[in-house]
Amino acid sequence: MPREFDLLRERLLRAGVGGAEARRYIAELGDHLDDLLTEERQAGRSPAEAHSHAMQRLGDADALAEAMIARREFRAWSARAPAATYLVAPPVILAVTTALWMAALVGAVTWLRGHTAWGPEDWPARIRPVADGAAWFSNTALSVLLGWGLAASAIRARAPLMWPMLGLIVLAVVGAVLQVGVTLPVGGAPGEINLGSGPGGAPFGLSGYWGRFAFNFAATATPYALVHLLRATYRPRSQS
């Protein structure tokens, strides 16, 4: 694929054209170029002349880019509504995922109650690792995983730094405040899974709201900023 198409793809993505639309456009341009090259070669031109004529017939870079960029319907949601994409959607996804995770835990415990002969004294020992893991996943890993997803999506979309960074801040705040608590059943008393807010704990001895926020934000924003910086440094440039 000619280098010109790499430049065109970058230009389309940076202008907010959706990734799938840009990929399909570039793929069809590539097929079209192959047909033009075949036609030009059959007309007796040298490979270099054939390439030059084919590229000229295909259209100049500005025309090819503008034809796509001018159509609003091809713009990605992250370009049409960056606030909704990066600020609103991630906390909503975090809340929904947390709720689904809790429902799955309740379902698993209910199933175990009906399908095992564990006595009240057996429960703490048997499910403590699972309960601890579930709480750690909800309170520590989930918001970081979602943050990485947001960052990956922003990098693919070549989004400007501001909105994704604000999104990571919001996600880090919500992740620091939301806390899933798992209380094990002891001595016949039922256990409890609850959702609330609390300072909890985070790795590396960080605790409290600020500690959890700092962990969430550092774990997501640092790799995002580094990749963003690298992409900006090594973006494709024209050969001229």
Binding site: E21, Y25, D31, L58, D60, M68, F74
Partner: protein, 115 residues
């Protein structure tokens, strides 16, 4: 390559594409060559810019596409949908009225009725 005046081209590529696809499905390169042949090179586009239009027509429901492998190469074929056929009828009528009105003005027969 024939030159084109973009000011007179508004809506023309859409009409031509819908008309060409009325009889059979085609892929992008075929469509562009067919436009050149059918219009004796009077209408010639920067060939690549046909794809955003094809994608927009497909998104609007006027075209349907399918991927097919022909002679070892994967191609996207476009065909007219029922909605596209209605759009073609509408555009053809509009275009006929417009050209009649323009001819009337060019011949100096007086003012044309609104199109």
């Amino acid at each position: 390559m024939g030159s084109t005046n973009p000011a007179f081209m508004n809506g023309v590529p859409e009409l031509l594409i819908l008309r060409l696809l009325r009889s059979r499905e085609m892929y992008g390169y075929e469509i562009v060559q067919a436009i050149r042949e059918e219009t004796d090179d009077v209408v010639s586009l920067g060939e690549g810019v046909v794809y955003p239009l094809l994608h927009a027509l497909e998104r609007g429901g006027a075209l349907i596409s399918r991927r097919a492998v022909v002679n070892g190469r994967s191609r996207i074929y476009y065909a007219l949908s029922p909605r596209g056929a209605s759009r073609l009828t509408e555009l053809t009528g509009l275009w006929s009225r417009l050209t009649q009105a323009l001819q009337q003005v060019m011949k100096g027969d007086g003012y044309a009725e609104g199109v």
